[in-house]
Amino acid sequence: MSEDRFLDVKGLEVDYMTLDGPFRAVKTVDLHINKGEVLGLAGESGCGKSTIAYALMRLHRPPAFISGGSITVDGEDVLAFDEETLNQWRWSKVSLVFQSAMNALNPVLTIFEQFRDVYHRHTGKSTAEARARAIELMGLVGIDPARLDDFPHQLSGGMRQRVVLANALILEPQMIIMDEPTTALDVVVQREILQEIAGLQAKFGFSILFITHDLALMAQFADRIAIMLEGEIVEVNDTQEIVNNPQHDYTKKLWEAMPSFDDTKGVA
């Protein structure tokens, strides 16, 4: 069982240094993800989900500081990496799909130029090889390769999110952290992207940490779900249990928070 663990986080604590002193945004969090597993991390805005996502990749920047705990990825101690190791490790072992596709893309570079930068930095391969890989990836996420020479603003929101997804796949990472990858999208596009992600995951078998505030969406896709409240994980269980047999009051509250089609209307 435990040899299947790809990510193992123990006692993680992250603080923001504020003018009023340190604010603990992540409080002694334990979580793990097995190889090929999809773990959902759900909670309301401000509970610390993005802070965890950034800390796991050591992309957190001041005023955020990791003040305790350990992060082990594929048997390696991530907090012990030096800058150079980290730069090689990021994107090739674990990559991140940011909450906002627009923030993740550089507006003055074409889609291909962004691909090429990451690909070249990590592999040292030629532009022609980068082009071939980029075309392959565009095919994987369902975008016409002719769009490679477009700038981000020329694409629709759904296409941009697909490009970000393709970027995360460039170096065939073993885990992808996805921070609200569909939150800003229309429901049909959201469904398209979610199916795309599920299909790619089934095809390549990478692990996913899937972050969202939408429990129903997450339940459609995750193997296990962790529920986060004010910096703490208050419940973690198999998706079926979180759906059918939630234990924590807050999990129940989240389920009751939005009407579903099953709700009786009560309209006279």
């Binding site: 429901v187 469904r191 398209e192 199916q195 299909g199 129903a216 759906v243 089609f261 209307k265 309209v267």
Partner: protein, 307 residues
Amino acid sequence: MSAPAFLTLDQVHKTYTLKTMFGPTKQVKALQDISFSLQKGQALALVGESGSGKSTCGRAVAGMFQIDSGKICVEGKPIATAHTSKEKRETARKVQMVFQDPFASLNPTHTVRHHLERPLKLHKRVPADSTLEDELHRTLTDVELDPAATLEKYPHELSGGQRQRINLARALAVGAELIIADEPTSMLDVSIRRSILNLMKRLKDERGITFLYITHDLATAHYLTENTAVMFGGRIVEYGPSDQIVRDPQHAYSKLLLSSVPSAKTKIDANFEHAKDFSNFADEVRKATAASTAPLASIGEGRMMRS
């Protein structure tokens, strides 16, 4: 024939002309042939993807701009032909908007008291047998806020949910009969969205307030409203009782929209090829829906669709 409607739209059109810095001007058909009516004390949901024209429709009803053609009537009177300023003020009073961003229409330098006192005085909403203070308390109680704890607060001292309640309170203070709520919960924390929906529902059921509810969320539309209009590309593609739209959608786009709503009970199809098929299918539906200029036609009791 049913009772005369509180609000009717008859073949409303609005096209925006965008002047791009380079190249030709671009026409955006924000509203095309929009017709519907809304009975007093009922709610109608405008549902659709972003850019489908929902907010434009709401702002047209609020009289915030001139429509190109068609007619919008409140209680049988066209809003565009209100000549005297008294008439204009009457319509402006009866029709109020609540926006997505609960901060947008609150002045950060003014207390809740100030926000509510002004409309109560301006529109002479304090009956002879009451006092301003009583009316302030009543209005806040109507939106389930504690008057003592809220009246002297500034907007930034309130939570997003409380701010949205203040926006509803202000509409009530003015004497709103129709509230156009444009995605009123989409910027709020998930766990408090439902309480705001419940409040709107209570205002409708108990106070007879009419709602034009703009949302991209079919589940909340179903929860709050009697009827739903599904919009796409500036047009209504399907109209009918909300529970029927949700249970038995007829238009291909309504079906697509509904089938895309996440449900915890069904796992997503994790087949790589199927994902492509679904995207291609979605594209086809969008294309066909955009291309059709067929009129809205009856497809049964209270239901309409464009073929």
